[in-house]
Point group: C2
Chain length 191, copies 2
């Protein structure tokens, strides 16, 4: 039980400093300090900083629960809007300067870790596909033209969301995130 | 003249390694090696790695010549499409894994350099505004509904482009960039 708690503390503390500082500017010392655990415990649980970053990324990605997106109740576009609104609120609660871990690692880690790169790429694909499924449901419900390529539009929405997170991060303002919602649901997806 | 050439070599070599590795994984040693200049010359031209990164970012941003976007000939949407196609081809020529320097630094540098952060934020704003102007021209030319908020859509297109660059970077494939063009001009901006 103590062992498990130490590992959880490392994941939580590591997540905070990886969000705030990125991978390269974070050391194992920073991680154990943020986790409040003795330095010696790190290598009992993770073989490297990369291994911890992978675990943090895996959990972050899983927390989106994108496989549930297509299963909810209610009209598909309203469900999609709620999904993005909840995503925005979590990002704001974390602090807009922290960004999205997938977006952060997509730019920082591509040249440095093939494992993290593959994980981020797969997470983008899964999220895009789940949104594509909801957009197909919207077509079935008459909320979206059947002439639209729902799969391509799903990828486009993920791209636009990630770009808005980058702009929120540099501006220190949630406005780009709110504007992503307003433009997506007030302009793009209006039948 | 020799002094000027050394500085140019540092900017060019520095640009290559900053694109490939990011800021934190790049050392002054890497930069002088990539530039093919003696290490001692670095601090004759730049007071820090951050100062070089600022100069590289300034030039990269200026290379987009976004102030000329609104001045070109031809129908506005065709002009905008040509602009994005040229941007995509430059990104592909550099190697899709290199990404966009603004996108790369937006995620990596926000917590580390207020000067780079401000420069990236201003570059996103200028680019979005220039695209917004072209979209207003498109409204004037009857290519885009006047009901659309052209300024907000300008920011949205920059977000979607930056997101597609991140996805191209992790996937190692230009397909997300080509799809950005296809969806923007085949779905979003169809009157």
């Amino acid at each position: 039980m103590a062992q498990r708690n130490l590992k959880e503390q490392l994941v939580e503390g590591g997540s905070r400093v990886l969000f705030a500082n990125g991978f390269h500017a974070t050391s194992v010392n920073h991680i154990v300090a943020a986790a409040g655990v003795p330095k010696g415990s790190f290598y009992n649980h993770f073989e490297s900083k990369e291994a911890l970053a992978l675990e943090v990324t895996r959990r972050y990605s899983a927390s989106y629960a994108v496989d549930r997106l297509a299963l909810g109740e209610g009209p598909p576009l309203e469900r999609l809007r709620s999904h993005f609104e909840a995503t925005v609120e979590r990002t704001v609660a974390r602090g807009v300067e922290q960004g999205c871990l997938l977006g952060n690692f997509s730019t920082e880690m591509t040249g440095h870790s093939s494992a993290i790169r593959a994980l981020v790429s797969a997470a983008f694909d899964e999220w895009s596909a789940a949104i594509g499924t909801v957009l197909e449901q919207a077509q079935g419900a008459g909320q979206l033209s059947r002439a639209t390529d729902a799969r391509a539009l799903g990828r486009y929405l993920v791209d636009a969301y990630e770009g808005s997170v980058a702009r929120a991060k540099v501006s220190g303002d949630r406005a780009p995130l709110d504007e992503f919602i307003a433009t997506t649901f007030g302009t793009l997806l209006v039948a």
